[in-house]
């Protein structure tokens, strides 16, 4: 019997452990290092078969390598399908909406996300992999996006940032109801944009102008990063990663932007001071992300931090040296830096692996 499990990723990890055990046992037997008595061997195999059957039934895990590859393919197809369907719905509406009266336009726009949400529920009930539910979840999100945009156009409504909040909430509702990461990513990006629009609107700016200031993204990114720390995802730990990645990429991109365009800052500081501040933060923040990632065993955070650290380093090299240094020397330094970065990344990878080991 399998031990009590909380989520599909945990079930998948258990299935992976069983597969690894079987492969290792086969290797040990082939090398004559360990040969289990027939009775024990059969008992272990039966136990594992039973466990895998239960895992496949309850969580639809991939029990073989081929199945895993197929799952990745299904995920990609689901994303592409959802994008194409969303475009198709938008273009279909655009093709015919001029021929419809206003009440009919409104009825279609309101009905589209409701029907798509119903289909998502139906797909989630009928199919355990969640692939079709994910596809339809994204289509629901796209229909709701189209709904609010087109209602605004039909009735000449001044665009508002609050639409971003509505889209974010629907993305989150679909994601948590069906355990889907794609709608969550769309929802969290909308939430990030809504948060980034707030500091500007509070100070009398148009909300879309607020999105032109990188510090607003940095603040919004920090809030998004804090979400999984405040609201722990015990039943769906895989969803925490979306908040971490979206929030971290927003913060580090904003700092990278400011390290080169410090005059876009809203801080009331002298330009020279801003330049120093953001060039230091451009190194410190990715380094902090790497350290936090190693400490909490979040590989994704380590890799994102390392990537931004290297990009920032290259940009600074270009700013500082490209004009006065011979070009061969500049590229030699870049090359040597890449080798050094590689060596650091290899060490980071080892450190991560060591921390993951029980």
């Amino acid at each position: 019997m399998t031990e009590p499990l909380l989520s599909k990723p945990e079930a998948q990890r258990r299935a992976d452990r069983i597969a690894a055990f079987r492969a290792e046992l086969a290797a040990l037997e082939a090398g004559g290092v360990l040969v289990l008595p027939q009775e024990q061997r059969v008992a272990v195999e039966r136990h594992h078969d039973e466990a895998l059957r239960e895992l496949a039934e309850c969580f639809d895990v991939d029990v073989a390598e081929g199945e895993k590859r197929l799952s990745v393919g299904m995920w990609v197809a689901s994303f592409l399908g959802a994008t194409a369907l969303a475009f198709s719905i938008f273009l279909f509406f655009q093709r015919f909406w001029g021929l419809l009266t206003t009440p009919v336009q409104v009825a279609i726009l309101v009905a589209a996300p409701v029907v798509a949400l119903g289909l998502t529920e139906l797909a989630a009930q009928r199919e355990r992999t969640g692939t079709f539910a994910s596809l339809l979840g994204l289509v629901t999100f796209a229909c709701f996006f189209l709904d609010l945009v087109m209602l605004g156009r039909i009735f000449n409504v001044v665009p508002s940032a609050n639409a971003l909040l509505a889209w974010a909430l629907l993305g989150l509702v679909i994601a948590y109801a069906y355990g889907l990461r794609l709608p969550l990513t769309a929802g969290v990006i909308c939430l990030l944009l809504w948060l980034a629009a707030q500091p500007g609107t509070w100070s009398g700016m148009p909300w879309d102008s607020s999105l032109q200031y990188p510090e607003h993204y940095a603040l919004a990114g920090l809030v998004v990063l804090a979400v999984p720390l405040v609201f722990r995802h015990r039943r769906r730990p895989e969803l925490e990663k979306v908040y971490r990645l979206v929030g971290l990429i927003a913060v580090l991109s904003a700092l990278l932007w400011l390290s080169s365009a410090w005059h876009d800052s809203r801080l009331p500081l002298e330009p020279e001071l801003l330049k120093i501040l953001y060039q230091v933060l451009g190194f410190a923040a990715p380094a902090g992300a790497i350290a936090a990632g190693l400490w909490k065993r979040w590989g994704d955070m380590v890799y994102v931090g390392a990537t931004f650290f290297v990009i920032h380093l290259y940009l600074r090299f270009f700013d500082w040296w490209f004009d006065w240094m011979p070009q061969y020397l500049f590229f030699l330094i870049l090359g040597l830096t890449a080798v050094a970065a590689l060596a650091v990344l290899v060490r980071l990878r080892r450190a991560l692996a060591a921390r993951r080991r029980p």
């Binding site: 419809l100 206003t102 629901t140 001044v158 679909i174 100070s203 009398g204 700016m205 102008s209």
Partner: protein, 274 residues
Amino acid sequence: MTKLRGLLAGLVLIVLANAAVLAGVAWNRRGEPEAVVTLTERELQLPWDAGSDEDDTGLILRLDWNPRGAAGEATPPALPATTLRELGFRVSPLPGRTEPPRTAWVVLEMEGEAWKRWLAKRRREEDERRRKAGPGDCPPVSDLEQMEVRDSRLVLVDAGLDREALRRRHPDRSRSVVVPGVVASDGVVSELGLESIQVPLRLRPVLDEVMKAEEVRRVRIAGAEDGPRPPRYRANVAFGRRGEPWLVSVERLPSVAPRPALPGGCPPAGDMFR
């Protein structure tokens, strides 16, 4: 969150968001409109590609406005310093930095005093230029006719944060509209909250007719110069409590005879792109 709860939450969210948009629209249009102005094609322009894209059957009219009667000049004049202070701009921003733009209510006046003053000034300038030119010469190149016949007469005249105060200063609701806009740090109104108006199906026939006639005309004059042309339609546009507009009616204007040719083989005046 269980699937059933998620489904219900999603449905409630979709319904509430739509209800919020529609309630806002109803509130904007409730009761007597805040202003109703009559605009023509000069102020409400058809997009240049209107009707040509069969994949987009919707139709909008672009609200064309004149930033403080400064057409023909490189940059429109800035709003007065008192208005900028009221909007929250600092008198002396940090060196090398620009202040962010701000939202404001802006007043647009249709064919009002500002427009008439500016037009009179342009005519005086034009007369002066013609006097300087010799009697046998062609008149100097000018954009005056374009401005008299074709350009928007909707002129920006004021801005502020208090909409009621603006309305008190500009009480004529058949000429002045108070709408949301954006003021840039240099004191220039850079954009309006809405710069296009949707045409509902019931008001399409007149504009469809205009677009069809335009297609025929383009085929006929293919390759010929396209000079200033009088407006072909006019529309009543209402503005509601939130400053959001909607079309009330559209009617065709009688067609005007072509401009007489200038003597002596001169090219037609008013063509800016000669």
